[in-house]
Symmetry: C2
Subunit: 206 residues, 2 copies
DNA sequence: GTCTATATTGGGATAGAC
DNA sequence: GTCTATCCCAATATAGAC
């Protein structure tokens, strides 16, 4: 759907791109079709020639990003490494994807807050299989003694979910607390290292 | 401003209460004065007799919750305990407040996402003093050898911020992933215990 | 495929009767 | 203090010319 390699991107793809930025920054209700059209350089009415409605456009924006996310995650999961190294690999794959596409994180957060009011599909249901797989992995490693035992492995996932997403979804807010551009190379490196080392400490069975 | 103890709550306070719920659930842009007025049982025009504008109403909703939050936090911070016990005390105070007022968490998250577009004040600037104080505390304890040393103590704060807020802000979403009501007593207890034990593991210097 | 023009709805806010 | 009536504006969406 989204073409690469050619000098010229289609108007449709330009719309998708600008819509992604607008929805991520201002949310579904805070974004008007005028905003998106203006960013592309056309009129609102011309935009509706490419997408039948605002909801449809929003749906396609989400669908595309979700597809890329699944691709990247599947790649990391399929790796043959085990133990804490696998956790690190998946954490880093998630981190790198989020750093590459912070718009995605912001969209997911907004959907989580609005509990899918604007999106047709149930996001948690879509992500559920991967979630369960991760939970089963932790349980197995705990049983094997490679990870420190916790009462409820799912809690580790919730914490990781929050730690990973919040940094990107709330980046402008955190910038005000930290006096550092969260997207600078240094800040990203530091955050990445901290998350992995934090998990290593917490999971270390010794 | 908000009266307690009397059987009858003023219309003004009812409006504040319903507005809090609506803004937390649907966001600023997603909430219309009609929604709030309907919840109270009056007309939109009557609501505007008590508050001059939507922005003003939103501001007051936030101001009130922020005041309570500061109260509770100051109470926990003033405790004479030290070391990891102080961290636990503050984490638990935050957790309990958030569990008591999840609307507050959702509002803060929305503000962080929108970077204060609807609120007059800069939220990160308001919270900055407490943030810096917490960072200094971690640094001191690391220097004293009571906490495990991390390159950047502020990273611990970011992780805590995410772990604490996300559970409540994204509760409906997490319910779909966990098959448990996040606000049930059991779930809250488990989450509370996990966060504190997770931090204890990560900060343990041995 | 983009435009102008227009229909229609819903939002915030004001004026004034009761 | 609450209501009805009204104003104004912005938003989504459609129709039809070019």
């Amino acid at each position: 759907m989204v073409e690469q390699g050619s000098e010229h991107t289609s108007t449709r793809d330009q719309i998708l791109h600008e819509a992604t930025q607008c929805f991520a920054e201002q949310g579904y209700d805070g974004t008007s079709l005028n905003d998106i059209a203006a960013a592309v350089g056309i009129r609102r009415q011309s935009l509706l020639h490419h997408f039948p409605s605002k909801e449809q456009l929003y749906g396609e924006v989400f669908e595309y990003l979700l597809g890329v996310w699944f691709e990247r995650l599947a790649e990391a999961i399929s790796s043959p490494v085990r133990g804490i190294e696998k956790v690190e690999l998946v954490l880093e794959a998630g981190f790198d994807f989020f750093a590459d596409k912070p718009e995605f994180v912001r969209l997911v957060r907004r959907e989580a807050l609005d509990s899918g009011a604007h999106l047709g599909v149930d996001l948690s249901a879509v992500l559920r299989p991967m979630w369960d797989r991760a939970g089963a992995y932790f349980r197995r490693e705990m049983d094997a003694g490679t990870f420190r035992r916790y009462d409820d492995p799912e809690q580790l996932l919730v914490t990781g979910y929050g730690a990973l997403l919040s940094y990107f979804s709330d980046a402008p807010f955190l910038e005000g607390l930290l006096d550092v551009d969260p997207y600078s190379r240094d800040a990203l490196d530091a955050r990445r290292r901290h998350i992995t080392s934090f998990y290593r400490m917490a999971l270390d069975p010794t």
